[in-house]
Symmetry: C2
Subunit: 229 residues, 2 copies
Amino acid sequence: MMKNKAVVLLSGGLDSATALAIAYAEEYELHTLSFDYGQRHQREVEAALAVARHYDVQEQKTITIDLRAFGGSALTADFEVPHATSLEKISQEIPITYVPARNTIFLSFALAYAEVIGANDIYLGINAIDYSGYPDCRPEYLEAYERMANLATKATTQDGRKFHLHAPLLRMNKADIIRKGMELGVPYGLTWSCYEGKDLACGTCDSCLLRLNGFKEAGLKDPIGYLPQ
Amino acid sequence: MMKNKAVVLLSGGLDSATALAIAYAEEYELHTLSFDYGQRHQREVEAALAVARHYDVQEQKTITIDLRAFGGSALTADFEVPHATSLEKISQEIPITYVPARNTIFLSFALAYAEVIGANDIYLGINAIDYSGYPDCRPEYLEAYERMANLATKATTQDGRKFHLHAPLLRMNKADIIRKGMELGVPYGLTWSCYEGKDLACGTCDSCLLRLNGFKEAGLKDPIGYLPQ
């Protein structure tokens, strides 16, 4: 039987790896899309490749785009990566690691890719619980994006296709995501979350804090290595 | 008086040069954004720079993105550029020069740029008359994009800004656009429309046909050179 195709946005982090595992479990033919956008944590891109390889995806594309051209974020410009913020603070404010219009840009490439290969389904690992501070991780944003996408392309206006954005983690917290991922056998040892991008994860940036707390709440051990605290 | 800032998508073609002239006449501080996306008509990118220089814009950014990575268009891949199609046909079908999700991708970068520099206004030269075959040139698409954009960013969800997409040519035909541009003194001699990207415009591709017909209907002479027919 011919499988339906799905495009999966794959960052190399824990969330998108779990989203990929869910699309895999739902038996799509997998096409993963990663971005080298001048982020300071280049290790993320390598992690994405390793995860894609693990799932033996049909095709993995890495698109290089220079979001540094615009600046405005601690992930792409010369800001300090925030450390030791409290978990409450991460979830309430828009952090300086926010990258302007990032998900909008990523989804736009995913849409082009999906249109060309004949995929109607686009998976992404965003969630609105731990990242409620990021406007482009909210359900109302996703719905508006999907509506726009279905007016944007030849696929939908001429060929009668309909795009569907899947954000299976949208309403899960990090511990739920990790539990779900463990059930599905996600190789979390291959993923990378730390904003610093050194040999070992720093354990103190916002992203490490969320990850470590998620494993703790799930009662599980994170398989990646951390700097001694 | 501090001017408001506008981001203008500038392709180097006739339409976006006219949109830039309109934003200039409306006294915005101008920030132009162009894309080198592997289009076969690279001359377009040079034309964009020349037009930006003419208007002495505050900043001109050219973003390189590889839309060839996806294929699916005569403008970026190994298709034949269509010649001598009738004008009726251009306006009714989705042409093979359609680039998947192009305007969605371009607008997403414009949104990031606008967010970072503090511009709430984004100008683009699309029109729904001559290009009614392009789904991402229709008013309903633009409205959906604007709605999504206003849910997508920190600028709108935290800082109380509101993005407005301006498509001043949306309901004008090519002759109207050229008449308007001539009124405003647009340097059409610096613009480039031909899909072929040779020294002289071919005069027979869809884009040349629309342009030549526009000048003819406007009763004006196109200042650029064409290959002898």
